[in-house]
Symmetry: C2
DNA sequence: GACTGGCACTCGTTACAGTCGAGTGCCAGG
DNA sequence: CCTGGCACTCGACTGTAACGAGTGCCAGTC
């Protein structure tokens, strides 16, 4: 399977033209628009080889060629260079992110920015609790038998939950419990918390024991298991660009997938360190997204990663541009988080 | 413009058939499927009148009739009775809403439930802050110059915001400020809060003045102006049912509108007391939604209204069913809130 | 051996004509 | 006021033909 330089050039040209025009590209058009230095007939021969190898295909006989998922994969792996951002984009990113007052604010601005720049669907994961440490725990008495438990993480995330106590609990006891919890838990990573919470309960004076037990179970259940991850989404309207040609005509499966938080997490919850992940069409584990591509990466203050972000679009997308934007946004968000 | 009973019956039949089949309905089919007791020719005459009055129209000559927005309006106002919920639906609602632990949880479950039952896009507004009262204000020291301001409302809403203090502030001062704020503000409606906040600042001892000033401005800005309203959304995938015939072929404007929080608020932020509002097609103030209908209502514990919820779908929707579901869900949510 | 020009072929797209039939409007009669 | 009948309209569908973009293959050239 020799794929010499020219064949690769042909593939690159096909991908670029197809992404730009959205139409199958033929041999003649190719030689006209790119300086390949050979005739259409030669290109046709190359195309035949590329097709045999599965990098491109013909929608019908007597139509031009279209890249396959495999073709895009080869393109992003070997044929494209990450496109530098335009100064305008750079400025847009900076302008967009200054003035954020809040983690919520940062996340919302980021997801909108990403959607706008890439003109695709953007997804941003809130800093993962598992990757955060406890900065402070607060118990706010609502009534004698009810507390609001508020946890503030170093990443800026704040989670709260109403706790129904087994018995009326005086204010002093609440103060004691607050102190106990903070003494033992502040500074610990949330992923390491469960055993510590257990320990706090066991070490607590017996008259606090019942209340502490409820508290701890709520703490574990809510903060570690249930709510663990949050997600923001923007730009779904961008799915309708490309007039129903993308996504083989039906947005249905895509929209369905985007409604499932679990699915979204799988999408952008990064596995490996800070690499940019690119899933093209069939490479997606999620069936509903077999017609889409996802570009995602991790972000966080400095070198640590606390969450993921990315975009989802048609397989026929501008990979170099998208990759550049996703990385740049992730970097800026990381810097922003580092400042807090 | 005499619209006698039979003409109204014809209109009702047209609406019902069109909603069910999604196809223009002709005179012959009508008499077959409904017991009108007259011949197709008579129905045709009635149709001609209905068309003249603007209640129905023909997509093309020699096609059946389709209701106009005006026709739907007449239908919901005078021709339909709210459909009682099926026991199954009733059970679904109850099952879905038990076990909610949180305001967040309630809202999320509600919006999903509503989307599922109506098979349309559901929108739920969080209890409006303007309609809530302060239950508690908490100041959590993060560092000597940083506080987390947490406000808990009686509706269960919790808002927080990071505050950058003008100067390092000792813990005792923070305690004092917390006490001051709570003394003056707990129990007040948030819409009445601004002047009170002002008063608290002015009455506070001079050494707390600078910190209190920043605090109060953050309080006012964030909690009253900016974040005021929150919204949850679900069921966008339902827009793709009805195969692009609804919404005149393009989801674009709808999806765009749904991304704008302001727009959503306008949609379901109710004006009048507890009436159910129905906006059909052109009646929508928002241009992007001229091809859609919105059914919304207020909800809240007991008779008071703290927020709105509703659904958005094609003008060609099952109004009686949708209205019944929206109202029922609103009522259940109200009861749920009343229990807290 | 690699490239090229030429050529026959495929097949989707477009245009046009013709038929079918659902549905209408109108009218004369009960 | 209702009804049956009838002529008419017009979109949907079908079949045919011309068009053309694009291909694969082959013989010829460097």
């Amino acid at each position: 399977m020799g794929l010499d330089d020219r064949k690769l050039a042909v593939l690159r040209a096909i991908v670029e033209d197809y992404v730009a025009t959205q139409e199958p590209v033929g041999s003649k058009a190719l030689v006209e628009r790119h300086q390949l230095g050979v005739s259409p007939a030669t290109v046709r021969n190359d195309m035949a080889v590329l097709e045999e190898e599965g990098y491109i295909r013909q929608p019908h006989t007597s139509a031009g060629r279209v890249p396959t998922d495999r073709g895009y994969r080869l393109f992003v792996d070997r044929l494209s260079r990450v496109k530098p951002l335009s100064p305008a984009e750079r400025r847009a990113i900076e302008r967009f992110l200054v003035g954020a007052v809040d983690l919520d604010d940062v996340v919302h601005r980021t997801v909108r920015l990403l959607a706008q720049l890439t003109r695709q669907v953007a997804v941003v994961q809130y800093p993962s609790l598992a990757r955060s440490s406890v900065r402070h725990l607060e118990l706010v008495p609502i009534s004698t038998t009810r507390l609001m438990l508020v946890m503030i993480a170093d990443t800026g995330r704040v989670e709260q939950r109403l706790v129904e106590l087994p018995a009326p609990t005086p204010a002093d006891d609440v103060t004691d419990m607050r102190r106990l919890l903070n003494e033992k838990l502040v500074g610990t990573r949330l992923s390491d918390t469960p055993p510590l919470v257990q320990a706090v309960v066991e070490e607590s004076p017996s008259h606090l024991r019942p209340a502490m037990t409820t508290l701890s179970s709520v703490l574990l259940e809510t903060l570690v298991e249930r709510h663990e991850e949050r997600i923001a989404l923007a730009g779904t309207a961008n799915l309708t660009r490309g007039g129903l040609l993308d996504f083989q005509g039906s947005l249905r499966p895509i929209l369905e997938a985007l409604e499932e938080e679990v699915v979204l997490l799988k999408l952008i919850g990064e596995a490996e360190p800070s690499t940019t992940r690119i899933r093209i069409g069939d490479e997606n584990e999620i069936d509903n997204l077999r017609a889409a591509s996802v570009v995602s990466t991790g972000y966080g203050p400095g070198a640590t990663i606390v969450g993921g972000l990315g975009v989802l679009g048609p397989t026929r997308m501008d990979y170099p541009g998208t990759i550049a934007t996703v990385r740049a946004v992730a970097r800026y968000v990381g810097e922003l988080l580092a400042q807090n």
